[in-house]
Amino acid sequence: MSDPTQIPETPLFDRERSKQGYRMNKMAMSLGKPENRAAFKADEEAFLDSYGLSAEEKAAVMARDWHRMVALGGNLFFILKIAAVDPAVMTEIGAAQAQMEHADFLKQRLGKE
């Protein structure tokens, strides 16, 4: 890979992001197991602590701030599992990435009326 950052507005999941987001992604990956989903629901902060998330990472997860989670190295395929515990629609997550209103996002990006 020469310089993936040259593609505008496109954070490729490279070594830096992978290293940076490892704990958050590991926490999210664990939500593939029902017992971990139950623990997340029962006491979210304690659950995040058990994966060693920083204060900044915890705040982003607890606010369901999808833009911030990705900025901190979260990879969508992992953090999407948070939306399985606390339902969010994919296009809402997309709109949050683009920092657009959902209706505008559907219309302008996806061409939906």
């Binding site: 890979m1 490892y22 992604n25 590991k26 990956m29 029902p34 999407l80 296009t91 683009a98 302008q108």
Partner: protein, 279 residues
């Protein structure tokens, strides 16, 4: 010897599976998408393959970042749908074509292509959805499968050229397998989409249409593109299209484009398929 009866390229968007699960196939949002697959399904029913070699990527469901194989080949007797967070989907288990899988592994490694070999592993929507699109939702799948995973999540992902080489070798390997299996190759993923960053929601309908037309007999430009080109034209997750190259390389130089379908957006993705036969 085993025979390749055709190649298909198809999207594997998870919301397609959810639409099937929720009975939304005939709703206005989804009907045009699913209707476009009817000829592909019919083609598959007529061709009656015994084995599907499915090239796809895991989406952070089976592989975590603790180990990221660039290529992996399944040699299991059976593959169960993985829990992607909502509980495993009610999709039948996939029976593995064990002997063919091992033969492919032998041939790949003998030819200096070294995949991870997976004896016990679950499969996510990347394999499930293409199977549902072409075989429906039977009680038992009419084919055995050979799953081949390609890393498209963590960079470095393999180059398009390496995917092409994989396809070339796969063909030799399949055609040297002592048996009379009829094999269909399924290259999956795409089409254009981007789920992350401020360009999220990027769909390139023009590039998608050109891809569906060109992958049959104007494939050279796609084979020769860089990963960056893929990301730029098809979006960061649209780079999954490199997995169609594995399928295309396993076919003849000249092929017949039997069926083609495009629909956008499926969720946030340009979606569609091609069915190819050797000319």
């Amino acid at each position: 010897m085993a025979e390749i009866i055709g190649g298909v390229g198809t999207s594997h968007v998870p919301s397609i599976g959810i639409a099937i699960d929720k009975g939304l196939v005939d709703t206005p949002d989804w009907k045009p998408f699913f209707d476009g697959y009817i000829p592909g399904k019919q083609w598959m029913a007529d061709k009656k393959p015994d084995v599907a070699v499915v090239i796809f990527n895991d989406h952070g469901n089976t592989f975590f970042l603790d180990r990221v194989p660039t290529f992996a080949v399944g040699v299991a007797e059976s593959y169960t749908p993985v829990d992607e967070g909502w509980g495993p989907r009610a999709v039948p288990d996939f029976e593995g074509a064990v002997d063919l899988s091992w033969h492919l592994v032998d041939q790949l490694v003998d030819n200096h292509f070294d995949p991870m070999v997976c004896r016990e592993i679950e499969v996510d929507h990347g394999l499930q959805v293409p199977m549902e699109l072409f075989f429906g939702r039977p009680e038992h799948w009419p084919v055995k499968v050979v799953p081949i995973w390609v890393n498209t999540i963590q960079y470095p992902i393999p180059t398009p050229q390496r995917c092409w080489e994989m396809g070339k070798l796969l063909r030799k390997a399949i055609e040297s397998f002592p048996g009379d299996e009829r094999v269909v190759i399924m290259g999956t993923g795409g089409l254009s989409h981007q789920l992350q960053g401020s360009r999220a929601g990027f769909i390139n309908r023009e590039a998608d249409q050109a891809w569906l037309d060109g992958i049959a007999n104007d494939y050279e430009k796609y084979r020769d593109m860089t990963r960056e080109d893929y990301v730029e034209q098809f979006g960061s997750e649209g780079a999954e299209l490199i997995m169609w190259l594995v399928m295309r390389a396993a076919m003849d130089d000249k092929v017949e484009l039997k069926h083609k379908h495009y629909y956008a957006p499926a969720s946030m993705t340009g979606a569609g398929m091609v069915v190819l036969e050797n000319a």
